[in-house]
Every structure is written in C-alpha cells, then in structure tokens.
Amino acid sequence: MQSHILSIILFTPLVGALVLLFVPKENKGAIRWIANIFSLGGFLISLPLVPMFWAQRFEVTPTHFKFLEGTPNNWIPSIGAGYNLGIDGISFLLIMLTTLLGWISILSSWTAIEIRVKEYYVWFLVLQTGMLGVFMALDFFLFFVFWEAMLVPMYLLIGIWGGPRKLYAAIKFFLYTLLGSVLMLLGILFLYFHHHTVTGVFTFSIPELYKTAPLIPFHTAIWLFVAFFIGFAIKVPMFPFHTWLPDAHVEAPTAGSVILAGVLLKMGTYGFVRFSLPFFPAVVSHPRVQSWMIGLSLVGIIYGALVSLMQKDMKKLVAYSSVSHLGFCTLGIFTLNSMGLTGSVLQQINHGISTGALFLIVGILYERRHTREIAEYGGISNVMPLYATITMIMFLSSMGLPLLNGFVGEFTILQGAFTANWKWAAWAAPGVVLAAAYLLWLYQRVFFGTVTNPKNEKLHDLTPREILTFVPLIIMALWIGVYPKPFFQILEQPVNQIVQTIHDNSNANAPVNAQVAPAPAPQALAVVGPKVVGTNVAGPKASN
C-alpha cells in the first residue's frame, strides 16, 4: 500500500465520480452523501501520507522525489510518456491542502446547489483528481493531461452553477488559461526534443529533463522561459494577466471559488517553482529577468490591494486580495533564495487556507441573502455573532497577524526579499498596511454598526455543517502561526535543492552538475548516460 499511496490518493475522487454516475439523479440526498463520503475519504486517505512523509523529510533520493511510482516511459513508450508519480516537500504540502480544501468545498455546497446536483459533484470530484495529478506528476505528458483536465470541470462549474454573468466568466477563464497552457505546451515540446538532441532519448520524464534543460543556450532559453512564464503567470495570476480572476471568482459558486482560489491558483506558482526555476536557472537569475518578475510581483501586491480597497462587491474584493497575496508568493519565488522560496510555498498554503475561508465566509452571506453588495449589509455581528467571530479570525489571518499563519509566510518572504535586495522588501511592506485597510473596512461595513437593512434582521447564525467547514481551517491557521517549525523542516530540503540548482547554473553555459543535496551526506547519485532514461532508485528508508 505504501508504494501506491499516491495513486490511491489520486484516484479516489475519480472513483467517487464514477460511483456517482450510477446514482439516479433524482436522489439528491444520496448523491450528496456519497460525494461527501468520497471527498472526506480522499482527505482521510491522504492523512497516512503525513507521518510517512515526515519520517522521510530529510532523506536524500537521487531524483529528490519520494514515494515514486512508475518509471519514466512506461505508459506510452513510443513517445516517451510515463505514468510516473512522486512528491517532495513542496508538492506534499500542496497535496494535503488540496485534499483538505476539496473536502471542505464539497461539504460547503450541501445546500448551495439545487439544480443538476449529480453533475455538479461528478465534475467536482473529477476536478479534484485533476488537481492532485498536477502536483504528483513527474512526467510532463501526464502533467499536461492533468493540467488540461482541470480546465473543463472548472469551466462547467462556473458556467452552469454560477452567477449572472457566468457564461462570460467561464469562457473568459477557459480561453485565457488555455492560451497560457498552449504556450506552455510549446515549451514542453521544445524541451522534449532538446532532450533527445542531447541524450538521444525521447522522454517526458521531469527528473530527466532537469538534467538537460539547463544546457539550453541563453538566447533560446529565454523564449522558453517566456512560454512557460505566460502559462504560469496567467494561472497565478500575475499582473497584468489577472483580469480573468475577478470575473471567474465572482461568478463561480462558493465551493468553486474556494477551490479556485485555494488550489488552482497555486498551480501557477507551483509551476514556477517546479519548472521555471530548475529548468532555466540562468535565465531566472539574470538580473533583468529577475527584476521584471519582482517588479510584476510588487505591482501585483500594491495594485491588487488598492483595487481591493474600492470594490463594492465582497467577492470581487476577496478576489483582488488574492492577486495581492499571490504577489507576495511570486515575490518570494523570484528572490531565488531559500528564505523567499520557503516563505512563498508556505504562503501558498496559508493563502489556500485563509482565502479559502474568506470565500466560504462570503458564500455564507450570499446563500442567505443572494447578494454580495457590501452596501446591502451592516451590523451583521448583532444577528450572527459566531459568524462574525470566525470571520474576524480569518480576516486577521489574511492580513498577517502574528500567531496566525499569514504572518509566518509573509515575514519569511520579506526576509528573503530583503536579503536579496532591500528595496524589494521596502516596496512590499505597504502591502501589509493596505491589506489591513481593505479588510478592516470591509468588516466594519458588513459587521459593525446596527442592522441597517431590515432584510438582514432574520439571518440565522452558522449551522453545524458550516461550522465544520471552518474548523479545520482555523486549526491550520493557528497551527502554522504558532508552531510552523514542522513546515519549515518539510520545505528545507526541496527548497535548498532548487536554490542549489540555480546557484550552480546561474552562469550561462555552466556545465550541469549532478544534483547536489544540502548538508546531510549525499547518496551515490545515478550516473546519467545517454541511454539511461532514469532509474527508480530510492533512498534507504524510502518506500520500496
């Protein structure tokens, strides 16, 4: 079981979707129960991964990935595609986030979805598998399959169960993201053929491509970087490719927004960390390129916060706040040092937790009143005190109050940015002030004061199910805020390895080094010959 746990985690939601297909669509109750059982099951089944990974967190493996499944090229050998899964610290955290948020979103849609319930849950579970696959895939073909597989369910979720402008938003989301994916595909293919030129082997296997990609000469690599960049930047979203986000979030159903913000946006940053940085280290560490990336991130932080400030729709406000928060994440990534990267990944997790909670919060009011206009509310604390308390906690988490999760990530990123170039941190710091401004102002307009709108007088406080959707998020927020040490330890190895790769290759045409592990003594590394496609050698304590 241990050696296949990734596949089990990956396909549980898909199995759930298949099971649901056989349930008659009139039986809404059964559908909801089955869907929730499978999503909760998916989460519970991912829990054994925690102690298993924890035990191996400092292990060194040749590919630096653990829990390897499959070998390269074992799926479609003629083109070199393999069903190859594996995780490291970064993807491990993201996978746990995905299974948790997947369960919470499905739980939160219990009363929100009344039409076409069966299709809704089926697509949601398919989406869940797609997301997990993206994080686990160690083969580019597989990765791309899952990447694209996420688009269709999301499109349908927005387009069928969304708000007034759902079609516009869904199509915009789909086409915009697809544009990026297609450019990324071009990049992938180039890498694929380049690998063949260097080694004579056709393969999509990512650890293999890590070895040859840094050899690409700078003037070509920069175009590849741009191709991948566009794909990921649209997904993150970075300024100025972000405008699909407000529409998609506003029009999507609550659970769709939660999963969109919580997980899908992380695909972009994951892509940067997993692909752009190790594949094109010379490009990324070039001062001009780095400045552009940092510049766009800083603009995203401040601009996103400013636009958030003046929104009249609660959901749009939270959507733009995502742009601002993910600006911090990309800032951390492109500082190219271990603090920035660690902080970035940690902040991605934090953003998933706190912004996921923010969208749930907005959804709670929306489900009761079917409006998201801030002006329609006021004095909600008086009628929904528990809800007000939970909202305050998550708002504080989002604005980075110490002892909650947001601060740990933000601060680590700021330290990384500062040590790279103090001006970057100086420009990012006002983002924290603006975050407090727009969140507290929102809180004041919605919760404080007296109940101004008579329609709000009869609102009922949170139901136990709704409370249950928040509890795991609050627990995680507090845990990461008070005791983040385990998370730092989990991230240490992959982050250091990436930084090392960049450092070794930061001069163009530097010979690619064998992947160097940090301070613990490195294992004997598999020698790469022209015909060896990649081995499944694992460290001594890794799964068999």
Binding site: Y303, L434, K485
Partner: protein, 703 residues
C-alpha cells in the same frame, strides 16, 4: 529558580482567561468571569513579583539578563534554512519563542501586571452595567497576554507578536461599542495607523538581522557593543530610524499619533490600560531595548529627540482647548510620550524609562478618575457640562488632584522627579546643543500644568453646569472603582522616590537598577552624551535652577488656569478664544491634521472631483483594471470574434461559394444549352450517330 524557569507562564495566565472567555464566556455568570479574568491578571502579577525577586537574586545587581528559550518558532530548528547577510556570510533563519528578563523588562513586567490588575478590578465596577461583559474581559486578558509577550520577548519577532497583538486588542477594545460608527472608525484608524508603524518596524528588524545575523536582543547587543561598528554606521542608522517609525505608530508620535485621541471611543478602562499605561509605552520599551543600536546612530537619536519634543509641544497645544475630558487626557498622553522619546533621544534612557514608570501610575489614575467622573455624570464627558463636583465625589476628586499635581511636576510627587530628570538631561546633552530641546520641554511643562489644572477646575470647581437629572444622579463610584484610584494615587506620590537624583540627595535606585541595560562597553568610540555621569558640584546649581524653573512653570500654569476656570459658570469664556480666535480655531480643530490626512493619505475626502490618497489610488486602479487591462482582454476577444466573422464570410462566400458551389453553378449553366439537343427522338439520335460516323470516315479518308 522555579519562577524564572517558568517565566513563560506569566503571559499564559491571561491567555487562558481569554481562551475561557472565547469558548465559554457566553454562558458564564459575571462572577465567574471576574474570577477567571481578573484572577488571571492578579495571578500574573503575583507570579511576576516572585519572578522579579528571583531575578534580582539571579543577577546580583549585574543586570545580566535571564533568557529562556521555549521552542523554535520561526525556522526549521537546524541550520539548513539560512539567508545571506550583508557581508556575504550565511546566518541561520531563526526566531524563537524565547523569554528574556533583565532590569528593563522587570520594571515593565511589574507595572504592567500591577496597573493591569488594578484596572481589571476597576472594570468590574465600571462595566457592571454594560453589555458584552465577558467579551470585554476576554479582550482585556488577550491584551495582557500580548503585552506580556511583548515585554518578555527575547527577540524582535516575538516582540512583534506582542506588538501586533496589542494593536489587535486595541482595535477590538476601541471598537467595543461597535454599534457606533465613530467607535468602529476609530478602531480601524488605530489598527491601520499602527500597521504603518509595523511595516517600518518589520523593515527595521529585517535590516538588523541582515546586517547582524540575528533577531535576538542578546546577540545584537553583543555585536553592537563589540566596537566592531563605527558610530554613525549608515545601515544601523537606517535600522534605528525604521524601528523608530514603528515606535511612532505604537506610541503615537508625530506623524502617526492621530489614532490615539480617537481611541477614546473605547470604554474608559481601556483608555487607561492601553492608551496610557501600557500599550503606548511599547514603543518606548522597544527603543530602550534597542539602545545598543541607537547609540551607534546619533542621527537616529537626534531624530527621536526632536520628534519627541515636537510631539510633546504639539499635543499639549491641542490639549489646551479640548472640551472632552478624555480627549484632554489623550493629548496629554501623546505629549508625555513625547517627553519619553525626548529622553531616549538625548541618551537619557533611564530617565525615559523612569518617566514611563511614573506616568503609568498618574495617567492611569487620571483616566480611571475621569471614568469615575463620567460614571457619576451618567455618561457625560464634556467638561462644559460639568462643574463643582469636588464635594459630590470626594475620593475621585482627591485622587485626581494628586494625579494632576504629579503630572504637572510638583515635588515631591512622582512626576516631578521623572520629568525634571528628562529636562535636565535634555539641557546638558551633546555639547550644549540641546538647550532648545529643553526650551520646548519647558514650554510643554507650562502648557501641561495649564491644561491639567483647567481640567480639574472645570470638572470639580466652579458652578455646576449640568442638567438637573444628571445632577440628581451624581454619586461616588463603588469600592471596586475607588479602590484602585487610591492605590494609584499612593503610587503617584511615592513612585518618584525611587529615582531621586543625586543632586537632591537621593540614590537614584531606579537609574542604578537600569544601568547595566544601557551600559556601553564600547572600547574606542565614546558616545557624545554620557548622561549617567554623576553631576559634579558645578552642575548642581544649574540643575537646581532648572528644577526651580520647571516647578515655577507648573505653578504659573496652574495659577493661570485657576484664574480663568476656577469659577467657571454656564458659558464661561475660553481665554485663548477671546485673545486669539484664529489660534483657538486651529487648536480646537487639532491643527486640521485629520482633515489633511483624509485629503492626502486616505482619500476619504475629495478635493473637488479628485480623490487622492489610498482610496483615490484604489479608484484609479479599479478603473484602470476594468477599463484598460480588462478592456484589452475583452478587445482581444472582440478582435478574435471579428476575425472569426471575417473567416466565416470568407468561408461561406469565397471558399464555399466560389470553390465548391461555383463549379456546380457553372455545370448547370452549361447544361442549359446542352439540353436543347435532347429531343427524345430515336431516329434523330441515330442520324446524329451516322453523321458522326460519316464524319470520321471522311476525316480518315482525307488523311
């Protein structure tokens, strides 16, 4: 060493109280809430006392700090997450949950828990009839937790936890009466303005860690005092200035003071605890804690001193004409905080801390007393509607009177010793270049005496100016409220005696206790100011002269106030309004600073049609985002659709029309004439065949 080793328990007592309130507060009786929350603080105070006693035994007067690290908070606990310092070496990323006790934090620990305890007891009486009882005490306990974390932290990051924590509690407590928009506005203002300071603080802490490699105070102090860094080091100066920005936010100095007067929207015990005695002193604490860095940055020190002095006089000027009793006290707090920073800035760290100490007592007393007055006046806060209360609420009157004497600096009360120490140090510091700071401080002392006396006379003397129903209800506050007042009054009298300077025959035990904290083991570089040097004989005379001047100023100020306000009747005139009406308007409107900020920084007010500030930038950015960027995206869509329409037209009419249907039409057109030959007559066909045959035959014959 039991107490020292469990020093981390001290913040946890009130944290426990807050947690209890969070989970169970709704269902608890008031008595239980009292037992838990007030008890937690009492417990913390007792524990703190024992801890400090143990510490004095531990340190034996050396001032050696006691440090206890509980666990690694930020960082992976081993050496593999690192960052590059400025000089290129790597340093480990680490911020622990660690606690430090030295003379500086001992003092803070004692008065924070002590005054906190008294205020909690006071609140039992004050909040007895208010709603949200458990919520109030929960927040107050959370505040105590944060404040204690702040002062006991051993590194900048844990300090920051407490720093933001007190900011949060301030927000929650200022906005306690959240039904009022003015309260929630004030809460937002407090938090956001504080956040601006926090951004500066973070950058300062990052600068220090980048330059020196650690966040821990002990590490930084060791490095800073090692003589390795030159005086005026630019990076340290930058760090010090950034830290000071944080202090300006938290301790309400120019230009980030604007939140403190508005913070009076909160219940009075909140104003007493947070905005007088404890939270606002956090900035002073932090600067004092960082003294090793500041000492190496004379430019920063000068800035601190100048801003402190300017704040002192600026706030005092506004306090001269305010009518809300709590507002006067708020501006007075800002002004007194200015004094503290003035002291720190001229290098008189111990004097600044001493003033924090004494100020905590008499300012808390003043606020609690004003709360008692407001309680007696059924909620009235405007002094124009008070008067002649001294016989009706005697305990309140007497204690407030004592506090006023203290704050004005009348010997032998506490304020005299601390304030005069500051003024003296301001005069003699730095090659005689700071007398102008003394002058500002002196002017402020004069104004302080005036407005405080004005407060006393308008409230307790003169004609009764309140309505009849209010007058009927005037009653002294319950024991739970007057008890703390008396205790604080005693402290206001006696606290100063801990720091009697040598010139007056005292031992200055306070200063001696703090000496190791501010010591400079700097080998070669000598700091320009050496304020701890005992004064020689020739200085004594100067010191006494200055003392007499400041006492005289206090008396004069008090006397002027007496003359104008002691018999104030229904529509008493304001002397400044009479003599200089424009000045009065400016002062009354707080120099229009809030309005200026609203125009320039927040953007809440428009200039004509244009909105500046953050909101203006937000509006502009929203417009840009929706129209320009999204417009571009939508334009791409439009272009795509236009191209698609073009393609459709091309496909339908050209490719399909010409290419596919064309030949078909052509074929049909040709077939029209061709049909004409088909008559259906077999013989005609046969004739044509024969003709053709003949034709062929002829052709071949002719060939």
């Amino acid at each position: 060493m039991f107490f020292l080793n469990h020093i981390w328990l001290i913040p946890l007592f009130p944290a426990f109280g807050a947690a209890m309130m969070f989970f169970f507060g709704r269902r608890l009786q008031k008595a239980t809430v009292n037992a838990v929350c007030v008890g937690a603080v009492v417990f913390a105070f007792l524990f703190a006392c024992f801890t400090v006693v143990e510490y004095t035994h531990f340190a034996h007067g050396t001032g050696h700090p006691f440090e206890k690290i509980v666990y690694t908070w930020l960082g992976s606990g081993d050496a593999h997450l690192s960052f590059l310092k400025k000089d290129g070496t790597t340093a480990q990323f680490n911020a622990d949950a660690g606690f430090l006790l030295d003379p500086l934090s001992s003092i803070w620990l004692l008065f924070v828990t002590g005054v906190g305890m008294l205020i909690h007891i006071y609140s039992v009486g004050y909040m007895a009839h208010e709603g949200g009882y458990y919520r109030f005490f929960g927040y107050m306990n959370l505040f105590m937790f944060s404040m204690l974390t702040l002062i006991l932290a051993n590194n900048y990051m844990l300090l920051f936890v407490g720093w933001e924590g007190v900011g949060l509690c301030s927000y929650l407590l200022i906005g306690f009466y959240f039904h009022r928009k003015s309260a929630s506005d004030a809460a937002n203002k407090a938090f956001i303005v504080n956040r601006i300071g926090d951004a500066g603080f973070i950058l300062g802490a990052l600068t220090l860690s980048w330059y020196l490699g650690s966040f821990r105070f002990t590490d930084i102090n060791t490095l800073a005092r090692s003589g390795h860094f030159a005086i005026g080091d630019p990076v340290l100066t930058a760090a010090a200035l950034l830290l000071f920005v944080g202090a300006c936010g938290k301790s309400a100095q120019l230009p980030l003071y604007v939140w403190l007067p508005d913070a009076m929207e909160g219940p009075t015990p909140v104003s007493a605890l947070i905005h007088a005695a404890t939270m606002v002193t956090a900035g002073v604490y932090m600067v004092a804690r960082s003294n090793a860095v500041f000492v190496l940055a004379p430019t920063a020190m000068k800035t601190v001193a100048i801003i402190g002095a300017l704040t002192a006089v600026f706030a005092a000027s506004i306090g001269l004409v305010q009518n809300d009793i709590k507002r006067v006290l708020a501006y007075s707090t800002v002004s007194q905080l200015g004094y503290m920073f003035l002291a720190l800035g001229v290098g008189a760290f111990a004097a600044g801390v001493f003033h924090v100490f004494t100020h905590a007592f008499f300012k808390a007393l003043l606020f609690l007393g004003s709360g008692s007055v407001i309680h007696a006046m059924s909620g009235e806060q405007d002094m124009r509607n008070m008067g002649n209360l001294r016989g009706r609420i005697p305990t309140t009157f007497k204690t407030m009177f004592i506090a006023t004497l203290a704050i004005a600096g009348i010997p032998p009360l506490a304020g005299f010793f601390s304030k005069d120490e500051i003024l003296w140090q301001a005069w003699r510091s730095a090659d005689g270049g700071f007398p102008y700071l003394w002058l500002i401080g002196f002017g402020t002392a004069l104004m302080t005496a005036f407005y405080m006396a004005r407060l006393i006379f308008l409230t307790f003397y003169g004609q009764p100016r309140m309505s009849h129903e209010v007058e009927h209800h005037i009653h002294e506050s319950p024991k739970s409220m007057t008890g703390p007042l008396v205790v604080l009054a005693i402290c206001s009298v006696c606290a100063g005696w801990l720091g009697v300077p040598a010139s007056l025959g005292g031992t200055n035990a306070f200063g001696k206790f703090l000496e190791p904290v501010f010591a400079r083991e700097v080998a070669a570089s000598v700091a320009p100011a050496e304020p701890q040097e005992p004064a020689g004989e020739e200085h004594r005379g100067l010191e006494w002269t200055l003392m007499l001047l400041s006492v005289g100023a206090a008396v004069v100020g008090g006397g002027w106030a007496y003359g104008h306000y002691a018999n104030a009747g229904k529509d008493y005139p304001e002397p400044i309004a009479v003599k200089a009406p424009p000045l009065y308007t400016v002062l009354y409107n707080k120099w229009f600073v809030d309005e200026a900020y609203d125009y320039a920084f927040t953007g809440r007010r428009k200039i004509g049609k244009i909105r500046l500030g953050a909101m203006g930038a937000g509006e502009a950015s929203s417009w840009f985002d929706a129209k320009i960027i999204d417009g571009a995206v939508n334009d791409v869509g439009w272009v795509t659709r236009a191209v698609a329409t073009l393609s459709t037209w091309w496909d339908k009419w050209i490719i399909d029309g010409v290419g596919v249907n064309g030949p078909a039409i052509l074929a049909r057109m040709i077939s029209y004439p061709a049909r004409l030959f088909e008559w259906g007559l077999v013989q005609w066909y046969a004739l044509v065949m024969v003709a053709g045959l003949l034709g062929f035959g002829v052709y071949y014959v002719w060939k």
